[in-house]
Amino acid sequence: MLSGTVTSVFGNDINTDDIIPAMYLIKSDDPEYFATYAFVKFDPDFRTRCLKSQANIIVAGKNFACGSSREQAVYTLQFNRVVCVIAQSFPDIFYRNCLANGLPLVTLEDTSGLALDDRLEIDLDAGLIRNRTRNTSHPFQMKTDDRRTFQAGGMTARVRAHLEEILTRQG
């Protein structure tokens, strides 16, 4: 069970340049480095809000994190203690980058029942968001394979197993 506070509510088409501008990507390959510059041009207060909570949840409109394939966008959120993003839709590249890093993404067609400062519990197994602030609940769909990957924290274990097979076959 994931739980946290909604500390950011965004509109449609937030892009990965908004999350972490390109100029920071070439300064470090330490995944933690990028957290300081989260939304620095688009929403400079983002990090301050995140620091106040142990577990942050982002609520967004359609097409959250479109654009560049930079996986640093995922690290930027994770190292600001973002535990889940709930949005009306996600484009493919960001979705796959979140699968690979185990940052759960919940697709919810109608996000109007979720607001800033709401306390949420997200049950991935049951496919249910419980809004403890408003005493409401919101069911959502998630593919079983995706749920397992999010819960396993990514695909690396599976890829290692595949590599084992390949190396064994090579002898």
Binding site: I26, G67, S68
Partner: protein, 446 residues
């Protein structure tokens, strides 16, 4: 049931017939490339994630197939910092160790260089650690961007995991472009109609007479921007033009591909190319596209109803112009832009940066006197790299800037200050605007 281009390519690699919605647990890929932004962390990731496994088998860390992997330093070169220089060093050392091709700084942009070199052919499944990898779809290949981790997985095993075969939207292009209208205008028009998320999770397949009449340079511009409507990728069928382009160039066997007449599409759109005029996308997203004749109207609208991704634009004044990037800095782009530039000067208030997309394009444009046209007119011609599109060097924007660019993204802060305004257009429109110092229609120069 018939198959789309994507269904055919995935079927071949998966070894069984597939259709949209099918899940492939392990999908073999055929080409993989890294740039200077993601290459260095990926090289480290290979050792970190899989070093132990290789060691246990008594083997050195090795890539899945050295012939199918490429490293291209293009985003921040010539190296703009010590970190970048050391990242390039790391890629070069890795290339020597593994026998993998590493291009030189200045050889050009990844999505241009591999196509030029004949490394991408129809039926390929291409992964690149850059969202504009979709450019390669113009070669009849399935190509899309991945993040660092999936890049490392592919580098290690040559596979993509848990791939869901996407649905396809079919864009039928008919007719011929009018004077001063190019494939860039077409794709800006399509993105404007579809919206920033309009092709989300789906592949954009471009077909029809309109495509068949286009050069390869023009086609790549279209596929390059499929991701700007959140398309999984863009793709085009094989035809005679592609066959002729690959002749004597292809490093791999070439086999034609086209979709079946009874393939199933999620949606369809037809565009008559002769109905289009030059397009300009307003800040801060490519989907804010308008015909050049309605710029005044668009400015008024931005002032009346501004939003975070459609901010108020106060004038049509231009301070910066960029002709470059993986979208539009190929040979033909420079030829068309030079037609506009000849006999004119860059406006005194404008900084005009011209960056040919590859060393080969640079050399040809130099040999044919095209670069001289820009230099004599007062433009800054730079060596091949991604330029200000990556927002780090070669023309970073101030808070007062209004830039017109032939690149593919005009996000807030993309090329520098968050206050700057970026407009997107074709090379001809960019050049006309650089001459006039304001958003301009290129047709009067042609």
């Amino acid at each position: 049931m018939g198959q789309t281009l994507v269904e055919k390519i995935v079927s071949r690699q998966a070894g069984r017939p597939v259709h949209a919605g099918d899940l492939i647990g392990r999908l073999p890929i055929t080409k993989l490339f890294f740039n200077d932004v993601i290459g260095p962390p990926a090289i480290k990731g290979l050792a970190n994630l899989f070093g132990e496994t290789f060691k246990r088998h008594g083997k050195p860390v090795q890539v899945f197939d050295r012939r199918r992997i490429f490293f291209l330093p293009d985003h921040s070169v010539p190296a703009l910092s010590v970190e970048v220089a050391e990242g390039v060093d790391l890629m070069e050392a890795f290339g020597r160790e593994q026998g993998v091709k590493v291009y030189r700084e200045g050889d050009g942009i990844e999505h241009v260089v591999l196509i030029e070199g004949g490394h991408i052919v129809p039926w390929d499944i291409v992964l690149g650690t850059d969202s504009h990898t979709c450019t390669n779809g113009a070669m009849g290949a399935l190509a899309f961007g991945v993040g660092t981790t999936e890049g490392v997985y592919a580098l290690t095993t040559g596979h993509l995991y848990d791939f869901v075969v996407p649905e396809t939207i079919r864009f039928e292009l008919t007719g011929t472009f009018g004077k001063g209208v190019y494939s860039k205008d077409l794709i800006l028009y399509v993105i404007g109609k579809m919206g920033a998320g309009g092709c989300s999770r789906r592949v954009a397949e471009f077909v029809g007479d309109g495509v068949r009449r286009m050069s390869m340079d023009a086609r790549t511009t279209i596929c390059n921007m499929a991701v700007e409507m959140s398309g999984r990728t863009g793709i085009m069928p094989y035809d005679e033009t592609l066959g002729a382009y690959l002749k004597g160039r292809a490093q791999w066997p070439v086999e034609p591909i086209e979709s079946d007449p009874d393939a199933r599409y999620a949606d369809r759109m037809t565009v008559d190319l002769s109905s289009l005029e030059p397009m300009i996308s307003f800040p801060h997203k490519p989907a804010n596209a308008t015909p050049v004749s309605r710029v005044e109207e668009m400015i008024a609208r931005s002032q009346a109803q501004p939003t975070p991704d459609f901010p108020a634009v106060t004038s049509d004044r231009i301070t910066d112009a960029f002709l470059g990037a993986c979208t539009n800095a190929r040979y033909e782009d420079l030829v068309e832009a030079a037609k506009v530039m000849r006999g004119h000067k860059v406006h005194p208030d404008v900084s005009f940066v011209v960056i040919p997309a590859s060393r080969k394009v640079y050399e040809r444009a130099m040999d044919e006197g095209i670069l001289q046209v820009f230099v004599k007119a007062g433009a800054n011609v730079e060596s091949s790299n991604c330029g200000p599109c990556f927002g780090s060097h070669m023309g970073v924007l101030s808070r007062n800037a209004q830039m017109i660019s032939s690149s593919n993204r005009n996000y807030q802060g993309r090329m520098g200050s968050r206050e700057a305004r970026i407009f997107l257009a074709s090379p001809a429109t960019v050049t006309a605007s650089a001459i006039e110092g304001r958003l301009a229609d290129p047709r009067k120069y042609l």
